[in-house]
Symmetry: C2
Subunit: 216 residues, 2 copies
DNA sequence: GAATAATGCGTACAACTGTTCACTTATAGG
DNA sequence: CCTATAAGTGAACAGTTGTACGCATTATTC
């Protein structure tokens, strides 16, 4: 991870305090409270630094939050890319995607937890940023689906609706997963199985869908 | 604004301060921050009462939170009852249920918002209470489905999975709805339409489901 | 109407908050 | 090696917080 230390420093405190602050905050969010409940002093204490040092790296707490959010998004997009570069939806690859996704969730528990909490309880700025990101995912999923011959009898609006259905459900399952203890292997396995079944069921529903159906 | 006499006046409040505290807190949660970020003094100020008066009604803030949660649950259960006493799922009554539900959401915006925020960012006690409640809803829905001849070829586990799918999505849509301004009539209408379509799609998927399907 | 319980008020205090400022120290570039 | 800059320190500030205490007022019950 750290690749910018280019000098022989006995006490390598170069750009490292900034990261210490970020991971301290992340840790506190995970094991304590929503980000908005963190105090600047609390974070600096956990980072092993005096309160005023904070200002050398961030103008205020909300800037830290935004940076943290950005970092989380990088994780999310990376995951998204990996899931998408598998083949397009069919019953067989469903399991693979689900596993890839939830492996990511488990390996980046802190980031997902942070985003999940902020989505519900963050400042409007944060909430909007997250929702925009989720909407982007949904759009990309809808576009992927559009490229699938199997689905080209479905209009754009309905594809969006279907993508939304998938994303909603995956989001909910992610939160469910995050509630489990990290150790609870069997619980996580259950969520995974449920996820796969639910997505398969959606897949069936999509197969039955007719966009020209009257709905008024 | 406040025209109360300056110093030693007592306002004729009977059991009414307690409620003032509760609705003050609820209001603050709605328009400001997660409950955990509220301060006792803030709440009492908004309720038009001196800080120490708080202790005449609650031992501390978290007790207020629990009470608020309880109140919200009463709303939720009442809604659930009303939705359930309609006929069982078929394509025709879907719209009715969806409308009943979201009307409730709109009419009890504050409570739903409170629960929604606490679900993600509340204390473990709160989160667990809410999740238990949601699980109860899911179970009841699964039981309702089980009584439906149309579905009696589906085993209990899969019924649970399906009920979970519905609840997950309704939950997500509820949060989406709560993000909209109260005035945004067209936005709310859109969510409603999407909700109906998504549930119909699930309905189709359920129709295709075979519990004996191999899934490994 | 007097007694008792319930409720609200004001003061007080210690703990914690964010932020300022002047200061020391470490590091990088010349 | 010297120096300019970046990064960390400590003291101090004004606000806010939760809560304890005693007193004042009201509501209720006899």
């Amino acid at each position: 991870m750290t690749k910018e230390s280019t000098s022989r420093t006995r006490k390598p405190k170069r750009g490292q305090t900034r990261e210490a602050l970020m991971s301290a905050a992340l840790e506190l969010v995970v094991k304590k409270a929503p980000f908005s409940a963190l105090s600047l002093r609390e974070v600096t204490k956990k980072a092993g630094v005096v309160p005023t040092a904070f200002y050398r790296h961030f103008p205020d707490m909300s800037a830290l939050g935004l940076t943290l959010l950005d970092e989380s998004f990088r994780t999310l997009r990376q995951m998204m890319r990996q899931v998408r570069q598998q083949e397009l939806p069919n019953e067989r690859m469903l399991r693979g995607s689900v596993e890839t996704y939830f492996t990511y969730v488990r390996n980046n528990r802190a980031h997902f937890l942070f985003v999940s909490k902020e989505l519900a309880s963050g400042t409007p700025t944060m909430r909007n940023a997250i929702r925009r990101e989720i909407r982007m995912f949904t759009n990309e999923l809808a576009m992927d689906m559009a490229r699938f011959p199997f689905l080209n009898h479905i209009n754009a609006e309905d594809l969006q609706m279907m993508a939304g259905l998938v994303v909603n459900n995956v989001t909910a399952l992610t939160q469910e997963m995050l509630e489990l203890e990290e150790i609870d292997e069997t619980g996580q396995q259950e969520v995974l199985i449920t996820a796969e079944k639910q997505l398969r069921l959606i897949y069936f529903g999509v197969g039955m869908w007719r966009s020209d159906k009257s709905h008024s």
